[in-house]
């Protein structure tokens, strides 16, 4: 921790005392703890947490709700007709408002005991229907990818604010002293629209930003010594550096920053072993590999990352984000059948496998799994069988964290254009996620440029009322 951080800290501390604790007290735990600077000792959360950790499956590009989780019989009826005038003007990215409506691509069926409807795009996941809490009334503010990617990740359509994962890491710290608190597993198929600011820490200290990891032998940037430096050789030269560092510290006043730097080197050294061990999935059984679809060329890549996500939360990483879809991803402008057919086939088995695996290990009880993208898609067609972006109404689902599944919450209008009942804005979803982690969104704040900043912003945000079931 740098002297500036320490300054910030001591002012924070005073300020917290005067402000009566609460939010900051919680975050302070993590501030003191980061990089192992101070002894752990988390402060009590705001409410009883239902989840200790989060896995967010981010479907980049915007999956089509009315083709996956939001059955719209009326859309079948009106397919081919123009949007009824009663719907008024619709802002779209590609001027599709006047295009004919396009019926759901695949049929929906009631699934599981609950009868929750899910389309045939997700045969495996459908078997987990009773674990899913589908929010059918999500809505956001921008028809563009990057703005929506930012909003869903950071609460703001502007670039450069802290992401949910960073806020969580800031608020709750890490349970694994050898690993960062927030890990991102990007899709190797290509970069995100909007890029790394999606998991940036914004004005929060850099230690809270998402650390991207990949499957394979080199999961973190610069995690391994260069080829010409062996591990033992590195330890020896690091010992020399640390010798200098201890001497340097000895001649100076006790400076937290200098101490933190020495510790950061040891954490880095430990991560070199911890991270590769964590991504070494050879330790998993054949049955587990199969569960995640690793035996199948189609599902192997995403399955591997889902398995990594489980291994991370199991080892104490607080927040893991798994991205599906390269630069285009679920952005099915041309052909929903083809695009979603492909991506659902890649993710269906791995996601179902993840839910089952978490369940059988008893992890699902206190792990929150979130599924969704930056927006949904339009009921109108584009280029015949494609669909344009739709931030005005779309679906998300949550599972685990003691949430009673097999339920749908909220609704879009009869054709799936706009959220209509029990609307859940992006910021409400953020408030809900924090709530499940035992954090009050209104109290989790960071003092920046004269403002007390929050993930959910200054406006009202509401936790989904009966989320806990």
């Amino acid at each position: 921790m740098n002297s500036n951080d320490v300054k910030n800290l001591s002012t924070r501390r005073q300020w917290l005392t005067t402000a009566g604790g609460g939010a900051g007290a919680l975050a302070l735990a993590s501030l003191l703890q980061h990089d192992g600077v101070a002894a752990p000792g988390l402060h009590p959360p705001h409410s009883t947490p239902r989840a200790k950790r989060v896995i967010w499956l981010f479907m980049h590009g915007g999956p089509s709700h009315m083709d996956l989780f939001d059955p719209k019989p009326d859309l079948i009826k009106h397919s081919g007709k123009p949007l009824p005038e009663s719907f008024g003007t619709v802002a779209t990215r590609r001027n599709v408002a006047k295009n004919p409506l396009l019926g759901p691509i695949k049929p929906f069926k009631p699934r599981g005991q609950s009868g929750l409807e899910i389309s045939d795009f997700f045969p495996r996941l459908s078997e987990c229907a009773d674990d899913l809490f589908v929010v059918r009334s999500m809505h956001g503010d921008s028809v563009n990818h990057p703005q929506s990617v930012y909003q869903v990740n950071t609460g703001s359509v502007l670039m450069g604010r802290p992401s949910v994962g960073s806020w969580t890491a800031y608020g709750l710290g890490t349970e694994n002293q050898d690993m960062p608190a927030f890990v991102v597993l990007p899709d190797p198929a290509g970069g995100l629209k909007g890029g790394p600011p999606a998991w940036g820490s914004g004005f929060l200290p850099a230690s809270y930003q998402g650390v991207t990891m990949r499957a394979g032998r080199n999961p973190i940037l610069d995690l391994k010594p260069q080829n010409k430096i062996s591990k033992q050789q590195q330890r020896k030269l690091l010992d020399l550096a640390q010798k200098f560092n201890h001497e340097h510290l000895k001649k100076r006043n006790h400076d937290d920053d200098l101490v933190a730097r020495i510790k950061a080197y040891e954490l880095a050294f430990r991560m070199q072993s911890a991270a590769p061990a964590l991504v070494d999935i050879r330790q998993e059984t054949v049955a587990t590999h199969k569960l995640y679809g690793l035996h199948d060329e189609k599902t192997r890549e995403f399955g591997e990352r889902c398995l990594l996500a489980r291994r991370m939360v199991e080892s104490g990483v607080r927040f893991v984000q798994v991205y599906s879809g390269g630069t285009e991803g679920w952005d099915a402008h041309q052909d929903v059948q083809k695009n979603h057919g492909d991506l659902c086939a890649k993710t269906d088995q791995p996601i179902a496998g993840l839910l089952r695996d978490l369940k059988q290990r008893g992890l699902l009880d206190d792990t929150l799994v979130v599924w969704g993208g930056e927006f949904g898609r339009m009921p109108m067609s584009e280029q015949g069988v494609g669909r344009d972006h739709n931030p005005w109404g779309y679906s998300y689902w949550l599972a685990g964290a003691g949430i009673q599944g097999g339920r749908a919450y909220g609704a879009t209008d009869p054709i799936g254009l706009r959220a209509a009942e029990d609307k859940v804005h992006v910021r409400d979803m953020h408030a809900t996620i924090l709530h499940l982690l035992g954090v009050d969104h209104a109290l989790l704040s960071f003092f920046h440029n004269g403002l007390d900043e929050r993930l959910t912003g200054p406006g009202e945000a509401h936790v989904i009322p009966d989320i806990a079931g």
């Binding site: 503010d141 502007l158 790394p196 650390v211 050789q233 510290l249 954490l267 403002l451």
Partner: protein, 645 residues
């Protein structure tokens, strides 16, 4: 927590300022076509920042044998009041390193250290400071501070991150202007209205890139929305960077605490309205104003780009205009002249904010914290630790023809700047060092760490200016970009350019810069964070950048010394820590070198090869040479290399 003063309301205002989002609060102008705005009350004007700059002086105390200039007398006064004990002067070895990184962002050379340490001249330090200030590297280092404020990048941002082909010209303009010691009032005026001040000078127009350097989305659906976003962002930036006014907060409704009305925001915005034009899919560059073009300006209700409120005339934020100077345009200017009028007002000696804001920034970059810690916010709730000193510096700037180098000179020559940082066993009575009784130790920026590695290894290119360069990126990072967004520069020498010349992508900062807290260029950054993280250590230990620099440093040492021994180790520490090693350290290095050479010989290395020095002189034992590379890499990873006392 909710009752903690007023900050919650404030954040409500600033939270979301983009047109289409729902905003939580209402403005008085909500339904009215006529403008109603709260008047500035007398009590509003009582806030220190809005009061005229006061001349003040502190007389020298009889007991004062340390003050070198008025800065010290102001500082000593408060130190005495608080019964703190100031530190004595740091030794020359410490001072030259502090000064060199502080002014040039580079380590001192061995020759410079030698000359300074052994100089008998009583004014050796002043001479040294002057030499450093006249170095071209001064502009390269301080230019980055300004680029942080200007939220500069070579790309647009958002989805496609198109490259801004000419952005580098602005970066070079800033560097040159600082090196020329262009008076700060001119420096500001050019960035607001270079095209009006010198219509035939293309370089003058380049300066206006300042206004349009923010992130932008050229392919956004509504170009009108884009235009207004750009205008809003630039208005906020002009307010915070040049005036220390968080006027951007008044975009949607009147500022909650500061006496800035929504109309004030749109008055300032109106000044730029005619100069901002957007064309679909075309990146922003310079301000453009066509002659005789008329555009009306409006207040936008709740900041919503679709909801026009009452018409607004260009003007100055009232609170910052105690003299009530009228907004008058020079009719001889062919374009509207509005931005010239603004520049004239901002740089008017009676403007209470401009000079205070800039001298406070210089202070922050020298000492780590400004006299007013919130360097871009001089509003209610913030105050200077040393109000008289702040005003003294502001007047000193104005009275010395707005010369920034003059202020640097005064600051670095003060006894306050030359103090020691705290040594072993000294417990700070003032841990935040608000009263400056010692010098605050500081970590170098990512840019300076990279430049210092390159400088130590003798590979730092001396080339100045020009288009941004692209050194190699790790493959894993390249994969996060859209195809073709990073073409590695063909000339090897370009990989070793100073950090400020590296192409600045908004979506992908160069790894060492990102790891060490460089801002991402999405908003003006007044003060960088200083984090200490494990990924920083991984990068310093394992990156190609570090190893290559270590190999080159080892190669340089082998070329300059016949044997790997004491003299070489002395040279090594001078190049990296700026000091000679102690006997103990020499012993440690000798011992390590022997052990490591032996270890490398016995290590089961398979086909991994040795990290040999570059170049490798003939006849040198490979294992001994590779052990030297290890020493160089260890030294780059030492705290002392990355910190300045």
């Amino acid at each position: 927590m909710r009752n903690h003063k007023v900050f919650f309301g404030f954040s409500a205002i600033c939270w979301l300022v983009i047109g289409f989002a729902e905003l939580p609060r209402f403005s008085y102008a909500e339904t009215s076509e006529t403008l109603v705005e709260p008047e500035i009350r007398r009590t509003d004007r009582d806030h220190w920042a809005y009061r005229p700059i006061q001349r003040s002086a502190v007389s020298k105390l009889a007991s004062d044998d340390r003050s070198r200039n008025p800065i010290d007398r102001f500082i000593l006064k408060t130190i005495n009041e608080r019964q703190l004990i100031p530190q004595g002067q740091a030794d020359r070895v410490t001072l030259i390193r502090r000064l060199s990184f502080g002014i040039r962002g580079l380590p001192p050379t061995a020759a410079e250290i030698e000359q300074f340490v052994s100089s008998p001249a009583p004014d050796a330090y002043q001479q040294l400071a002057d030499r450093m200030l006249s170095s071209f590297h001064y502009g390269e280092h301080w230019g980055q501070h300004w680029l942080d404020l200007a939220r500069f990048a070579d790309t647009d941002g958002f989805e496609f991150y198109k490259e801004r082909a000419d952005a580098w010209k602005y970066r070079d303009w800033v560097i040159q202007a600082l090196n020329d010691d262009m008076p700060y009032d001119r420096f500001v005026a050019f960035q607001l209205a270079g095209d009006e001040l010198e219509p035939v000078n293309e370089r003058a127009r380049v300066a206006t890139v300042f206004c349009l350097s923010g992130p932008d989305m050229p392919d956004i659906n509504s170009q009108e929305q884009r235009r207004q976003n750009v205008l809003n962002e630039l208005t906020g930036t002009v307010g915070s960077v040049l005036l220390g006014l968080q006027i951007g907060c008044a975009q949607c409704h009147d500022h909650k605490f500061d006496p800035i009305s929504q109309a004030d925001f749109y008055r300032l915005r109106a000044v730029f309205e005619r100069a901002v034009h957007v064309t679909r899919n075309k990146s922003l560059n310079v301000l453009q104003e066509k002659e005789g073009q008329l555009t009306k300006s409006y207040l936008m209700i709740r900041g919503d780009w679709r909801r026009q409120g009452p018409e607004i005339q260009p003007g100055f934020p009232r609170i910052a205009n105690p003299g009530n100077l009228p907004f008058t345009v020079d009719s001889s200017i062919k374009t509207s002249g509005r931005r010239t009028a603004l520049a004239d007002w901002i740089t008017h000696p009676e403007n209470p904010l401009t000079a205070r804001v800039i001298v406070n920034r210089l202070w922050q970059y020298h000492f780590g914290t400004g006299l007013v810690p919130s360097t871009s916010d001089f509003g209610i709730g913030h105050s200077p630790s040393h109000p008289e000193l702040l005003d003294w510096l502001a007047l000193e700037l104005i009275q010395n023809a707005w010369s920034l180098k003059h202020i640097h000179r005064v600051i670095v020559n003060s006894a306050t700047y030359r103090q020691k940082s705290l040594a072993h066993g000294e417990v700070p009575q003032d841990p935040e060092n608000t009263w400056l009784s010692y010098f605050s130790r500081r970590r170098l920026s990512g840019e300076a760490i990279r430049d210092a590695m390159l400088a130590a290894s003798g590979s730092l290119s001396k080339e100045l200016g020009g288009k941004g360069v692209h050194p190699p990126l790790p493959e894993a990072l390249k994969a996060t970009l859209i195809e073709g967004q990073w073409h590695v520069s063909e000339r090897l020498a370009d990989h070793y350019r100073r950090s400020i010349y590296l192409f600045a992508r908004r979506n992908l900062p160069y790894p060492i810069f990102e790891a060490f807290d460089r801002p991402d260029g999405n908003a003006s950054c007044a003060r960088r964070l200083h984090s200490t993280t494990a990924p920083q250590s991984l990068l310093m230990l394992n990156s190609t950048l570090s190893l290559d620099a270590a190999q080159r440093l080892a190669g340089r040492l082998l070329s300059d010394h016949v044997t790997i021994g004491e003299q070489m180790f002395e040279d090594l520490l001078i190049k990296t820590f700026g000091r000679t090693p102690t006997e103990k350290e020499k012993g440690t290095l000798r011992q390590f070198h022997q052990n490591q050479t032996r270890f490398l010989l016995s290590d089961e290395r398979g086909d991994r090869g040795l990290a040999l020095p570059i170049p490798l002189p003939a006849g040198v034992d490979h294992h001994a040479a590779a052990a030297l590379t290890d020493i160089c890499l260890a030294v780059f990873n030492a705290t002392e290399f990355m910190y300045v006392d």
